[in-house]
């Protein structure tokens, strides 16, 4: 019986319902807008913070790779590194990092003093060790990069110099000097093909800068060890541990800030919406006096809250994505991509908070007789 009445009256009833909702928003535009603003701000703050938080690891990870290699691949005790190691390491890396081979010998200068000469791939070492301060990188065969302490020993006037290794000599052309403040300053670097042709010594170390989090780096280590079982693959603890710690603390600080901001925005949203509903106790009283059921009135305010939450969340998401992208551009000079995984969280959160803040005052109002409210008490 009740069901049939509802069915026949559905059209005009729902029309009235929608009309009340729209009029409610249009007539009190100022109030409705400030309520919407509160939802938008909360949703935007949540979206921006969560997006930045999720992206910060990847963005800072790029910065941390400036510290250079976090994995070294060396031969096991008393063995030589197999020539295929580099290609196998590169295959295991699959583009998620760089691998650079190094070969070393102790050669002697024309006056017989010992000096370390290293052979490497110049273009990839440039990417791996971005802190190398180099005046000019070697390009041609026979060019050498001379450490600034070694420079004083081998070529005082930038002239070509001769080096000897096991009776074989070579002539190198110093095109640039290198400064690092570490062991590299005492060495001479030449391109690997030149080095092998002169000394016949193959690379003994492959330094790898693998991208990603600690877990991803560990997975990369496992993959390399699997691809090249006869060599030793070790993490560079100094780099890996410090990075993990700095990254962890930064993320925690960011998370703490995010939580604080989201809580503030959410509480202000509750305050705003509660005041909004309380302010309309007259509407509530009129509806009840005209015979609306508790459920209908409750449903009306709930629908209002849900639509406010939904519209606010969508607008807020768009603004929040914009803010996150601005932060990415301004700080990392790279875009922070919108994370659509954040959207459902923000959407559900906004609606839940809006519903909660609309229901709270209704619980209070339900206890009061409509007549008392309409009399203005």
């Amino acid at each position: 019986m009740t069901g049939s009445r509802v069915r026949t009256g559905l059209q005009p009833r729902s029309k009235m319902f929608v009309r009340m909702l729209l009029r409610g928003a249009l007539v009190r535009r100022g109030r409705a807008l400030s309520a919407l603003l509160a939802v938008v701000v909360a949703a935007a703050a949540a979206t921006a913070m969560l997006t930045v938080y999720q992206d910060v690891q990847a963005k800072l990870g790029i910065e941390f790779r400036r510290y250079g290699a976090n994995i070294v691949v060396v031969a096991k005790q008393g063995q030589a590194l197999p020539p295929s190691t580099l290609s196998r390491v590169q295959k295991a890396l699959d583009g998620r990092g760089i691998a650079v081979p190094f070969a070393y010998v102790v050669a002697s200068t024309s006056n017989g003093s010992p000096i370390v000469v290293a052979g490497t791939d110049m273009s990839s070492v440039q990417q791996l060790d971005s802190w190398w301060s180099v005046t000019a990188w070697p390009k041609l065969s026979g060019d050498a990069l001379v450490g600034n302490r070694a420079a004083a020993v081998v070529s005082a006037q930038d002239h070509a110099f001769e080096l000897k290794f096991q009776g074989r000599s070579t002539r190198l052309n110093p095109v640039g000097t290198l400064q690092t403040g570490a062991a590299e300053d005492s060495r001479i670097y030449v391109a690997l093909p030149d080095f092998v042709a002169w000394t016949g010594v193959e690379p003994s170390v492959v330094e790898v800068a693998a991208n990603g989090s600690a877990a991803e780096v560990n997975a990369t280590i496992a993959r390399i060890a699997q691809a090249a079982p006869e060599v030793e693959v070790r993490p560079v603890r100094q780099i890996v541990e410090a990075e993990g710690r700095v990254l962890g603390k930064t993320r925690s600080a960011l998370l703490a800030s995010a939580i604080l901001i989201i809580i503030t925005a959410a509480l202000c949203l509750v305050a705003t919406l509660t005041a909004w509903v309380l302010d309309r106790r007259r509407d509530f009283a009129v509806m009840k006096a005209l015979g609306a059921s508790e459920r209908l009135v409750g449903g009306f305010f709930a629908t209002e809250a849900v639509s406010l939450g939904a519209v606010g969340a969508l607008l807020g998401f768009v603004i929040g994505v914009g803010v996150a992208e601005w932060i990415g551009r301004a700080n990392f000079h790279a875009d922070i991509m919108p994370r659509f995984a954040v959207l459902p969280v923000v959407f559900a959160g906004s609606i839940a908070v809006a519903l909660l803040s609309a229901q709270l005052p209704l619980v209070l109002l339900r206890r009061v007789q409509p007549a008392a409210i309409l009399r203005g008490e």
Binding site: R31, S34, L37, A38, V41, A42, A44, A45, M49, V52, V56, L60, E63, R66, Y104, V106, S113, P114, V116, D129, W131, S133, R149, Q179, G181, A182, A183, D185, S186, S204, V236, R237, Q238, E241, A242, R245, V246, K249, T250, A253, L254, A256, S257, L260, I261, T264, A265, L267, C268, A271, A275, W276, L278, D279, R282, W326, I327, N331, F332, G376
Partner: protein
């Protein structure tokens, strides 16, 4: 009359005022905490970045070329020049001594290690572990426990005045000696205090107290190089200028900035016949990483301030909309727009002051808790921040009130009082 109106408004609407005050206090405490964290994070992260190890190295000025491959120095141990151990405490006498978190001298020597029957040539590093030193009246400790935080020891760290050593973990495995055992170094029986895991070349070496290495090569007081871990400021264009070309106040400003270069310059002055250089891998990179993290927190703080400002404004505006009948009544009784606005702004100012004050102190507590739980050290709020925070709180509260008050005073009192607005 104005004072009474203001007083009564607070007395009679306690709950409502409390709510507005809480909203402001909440916004202010979050703003205070985030500003405090953002201003302090540079210093905190800088300390964490010291986990990458020393960023400066002191070497003898007239040193011969190092012949080093994979962390093993092939140069004859007696070759080249040395620094004097007696000069090391002077590091703590430089202008930026408080920024120098630690230093570790190094003296590599070759020794013959005999264990489980066979003899081998290995490198022994002489260094400080946690040595007590004295400069003037100050005593302090320094050594690898401070500079190389990634070193892990299974067993105990040796005492600096003993003849105990650490064995690198690969070496220990090869000679089958564990912590507490003994090895034969150059014919004398030596206790192994612990096994060192460093993830670097030290895993194949012996690490011993400095005095022991000096005895082995017969050079008392000799140090090959010193690693220094210092808190520095990221390098900028001014830092890269050559101190020799600077004069007067510009030189003083360069000298008194904690750039890696100026600290290196001061260390060079303090230690005779030395050459100090920054380890670019650590020094240069930490500058960029630090700048990124600081920039990120700055932008997040800006966004947070904006969001909490808007949220508090919205809450204030809604709270005031409720009181339009009050405005109507005042206007009907003949109050001018100006006096109505003055009353509401005075209320807002009072709320901002009270809420802001409470928020500032709770924000300070919040910041301290964040500092303790994340960084394990205090984050303190500068008292200078209080007026700034209160001004922001007043601005935000006024902003929220202004919109509501303007709308309220514009409406005809009769309509408002009838309840039609």
């Amino acid at each position: 009359m104005f004072g009474r109106l203001l007083f009564e408004s607070f007395r009679r609407q306690q709950r409502r005022k409390l709510l507005a005050g809480v909203a402001i206090a909440l916004g202010v405490s979050v703003a205070t905490a985030i500003i405090a964290v953002a201003t302090d994070i540079g210093d905190k992260i800088n300390r964490e970045l010291r986990g990458y190890g020393a960023n400066l190295v002191i070497t003898p000025q007239a040193d011969t070329l190092d012949v080093e491959i994979g962390g093993v120095n092939l140069k004859p141990p007696s070759d080249g020049a040395f620094l004097s151990e007696a000069d090391l405490p002077k590091i703590k006498g430089t202008f930026w001594r408080n920024n120098i978190l630690g230093f570790a001298p190094l003296l590599p020597v070759r020794v013959k290690l005999k264990a489980t029957g066979h003899e081998q040539d290995v490198e022994l590093l002489g260094t400080y572990f946690n040595k007590q030193l004295k400069y003037g009246q100050d005593t302090f400790t320094s050594g690898v426990t401070k500079t190389n935080s990634w070193w892990r020891v299974n067993g105990a760290w040796p005492d600096d005045n003993s003849h105990d050593v650490l064995l690198g973990e690969r070496l220990a495995e090869r000679v089958a000696v564990s912590a507490g055992g003994t090895v034969d170094i150059n014919g004398s029986n030596t206790r192994v205090a612990g096994v060192l895991s460093s993830g670097g070349a030290e895993d194949e070496q012996i690490v011993a107290p400095l005095a022991m290495a000096q005895e082995i090569i017969g050079h008392p007081g000799a140090v090959r190089r010193v690693y220094v871990s210092a808190l520095t400021k990221p390098e900028d264009a001014f830092a890269r200028r050559d101190p020799r070309t600077l004069a007067g106040p510009t030189f003083d400003r360069w000298y008194c900035s904690p750039y890696a270069r100026s600290i290196a310059y001061q260390l060079g002055e303090a230690i005779p016949h030395s050459h100090v250089e920054q380890i670019r891998q650590v020094a240069q990179t930490e500058g960029t990483v630090l700048a990124r993290i600081k920039g990120l927190m700055l932008l997040v703080t800006l966004a947070a301030l904006l969001a909490s400002g808007l949220a508090v404004s919205a809450a204030m505006a809604t709270a005031l909309f409720e009181r339009r009948s009050e405005v109507g009544l005042m206007k009907a009784l003949g109050a001018a727009h100006r006096s109505v606005a003055a009353l509401f702004f005075a209320e807002a100012a009072l709320l901002a002051l009270l809420g802001g004050g409470v928020g500032f102190f709770s924000g300070g507590i919040l910041a301290r808790e964040i500092g303790r739980s994340i960084f394990g050290s205090q984050i303190s709020v500068q008292p200078v921040l209080l007026p700034v925070i209160l001004a922001i709180a007043a601005l935000v509260t006024f902003g929220g009130s202004a919109i509501a008050v303007r709308r309220a005073v514009r409406v005809d009192p009769a309509i408002v009082l009838r309840g039609d607005a």
